[in-house]
């Protein structure tokens, strides 16, 4: 029996031969006893290695374990880029207010000017959507983050970690608003990021003001010569708790 026919026999049994070759093999089997015997033994072999005798189904619980590990992997790879885009958008949103503060100096914001500014900031936001990072210095240690700003800012922002109160410090970032460098401290609460922008306030003194912009909650105030803006998609109650903690610690 030729090796060639040997191999083709397997293809024939598996239904993988084209019609021409299949007919050739069938014809051959009718006249060749040896191949015919081989064919019968192959059929026996196939019957004992069937799915019914050899299949191992997945153990109970494996599906659940895989579902949960897939979800964990999904959380671990949060799309950082889109988060950064959001923060750049907010930073640019604030450009308007800071520009105003710089231009007007110690005068309070005018309501209609705020409105015009908001519109200007929106178009500036669309133009400037370039994201690269949420933090320049990633550390939960306030004694690492605070000195990091030395030499980058002409003021030293107060930094405190509020992890024990549920608002861990994630890190810090140097942000620029109309060429004016400001400190951005990044905190987190239940996967919501909070940006706390800080810069010297000059002569202005302002009590706590709350507003929303495009669904984001914003608190701003001045304290001990610094202006603070806290921005987050965190709900206003929890954001206010954060603000009060900051105010207490930065006394």
């Amino acid at each position: 029996m030729s090796e060639h026919v040997q191999r083709l026999l397997h293809g024939y049994i598996d239904g993988e031969l084209d019609i021409v070759k299949a007919l050739e093999i069938e014809e051959h089997l009718q006249s060749c006893a040896e191949c015919s015997q081989q064919y019968k033994e192959l059929m026996v072999l196939k019957s004992v290695v069937s799915r019914t005798t050899l299949f191992n189904p997945a153990p109970k619980g494996l599906e659940k374990r895989i579902k949960s590990s897939v979800r964990k992997a999904n959380q671990a790879s949060q799309p950082w880029l889109s988060l950064q885009l959001r923060w750049i958008a907010i930073a640019v949103f604030l450009v308007g207010f800071i520009i105003l503060g710089v231009m007007i100096g110690s005068r309070a914001f005018n309501q209609s000017q705020e409105f015009t500014l908001a519109r200007e900031v929106q178009s500036a936001h669309v133009r400037s959507l370039m994201a690269s990072h949420l933090t320049d210095i990633t550390s939960t240690d306030q004694h690492t983050v605070k000195p990091w700003f030395n030499g980058k800012l002409d003021f030293s922002p107060p930094v405190v970690d509020l992890a024990t109160q549920g608002f861990p410090l994630i890190g810090g970032r140097l942000d620029y608003i109309e060429n004016y460098p400001v400190a951005a401290l990044v905190y987190q609460r239940n996967k919501h990021d909070i940006n706390l922008f800080i810069w010297p306030s000059g002569n202005t003194e302002e009590g706590l003001r709350y507003s929303t912009y495009n669904g984001y909650n914003v608190y701003h105030w001045t304290q001990s010569g610094m202006t603070y803006w806290a921005v987050s998609d965190l709900n206003p109650d929890e954001l206010k708790s954060f603000v009060e903690l900051v105010q207490k610690n930065f006394g």
């Binding site: 997945a58 153990p59 992997a73």
Partner: protein, 178 residues
Amino acid sequence: MSQDRSKISLFEETILPHLDAAYNLARWIMSNDQDAEDMVQEACLRAYKYFLGFQGTNSRSWLLTIVRNTCYTWLRQNRAQELTVELDEEISQIETDIFNPETLLLNTIDQQLVRHTLEELPVEFRELIILREVEELSYKEIANIIGIPIGTVMSRLARARERLKQSLIYGMEEGSNE
């Protein structure tokens, strides 16, 4: 994010129906339950990672390819000695009538013996038998999963079956001599 939730549910709908097939293949390649589970878990994570790049229609073959690669990568690093086999060696043909269907009663081939004999086969032969006989994949699908030409599938399968038959005959002869 709803975008992630829909990726997860699409992944689960597409891939999880093939979990049994994935585990079965891994179990036969790895030869024990725990390793098989570990490999399937790792393979599913990789499948999820590359899921958005899966453009094909045959998700079972795609998953089995990943499972197979995951298993072999691990084996190469941890049990390399299992992978060295001369697939071209001459199979000693035992002259016997024992496999003749006319003289053989099917229920005399013990299921345990079949499993044991399969486990003793070189892994490259074993996986081929599993993919063809248990998963009932076509030569083309098998060729894609293993990464060999279709012609090689047929000739390697012929050798695998011949080896299995000879080993079974040997096992049955041993049994009948007791």
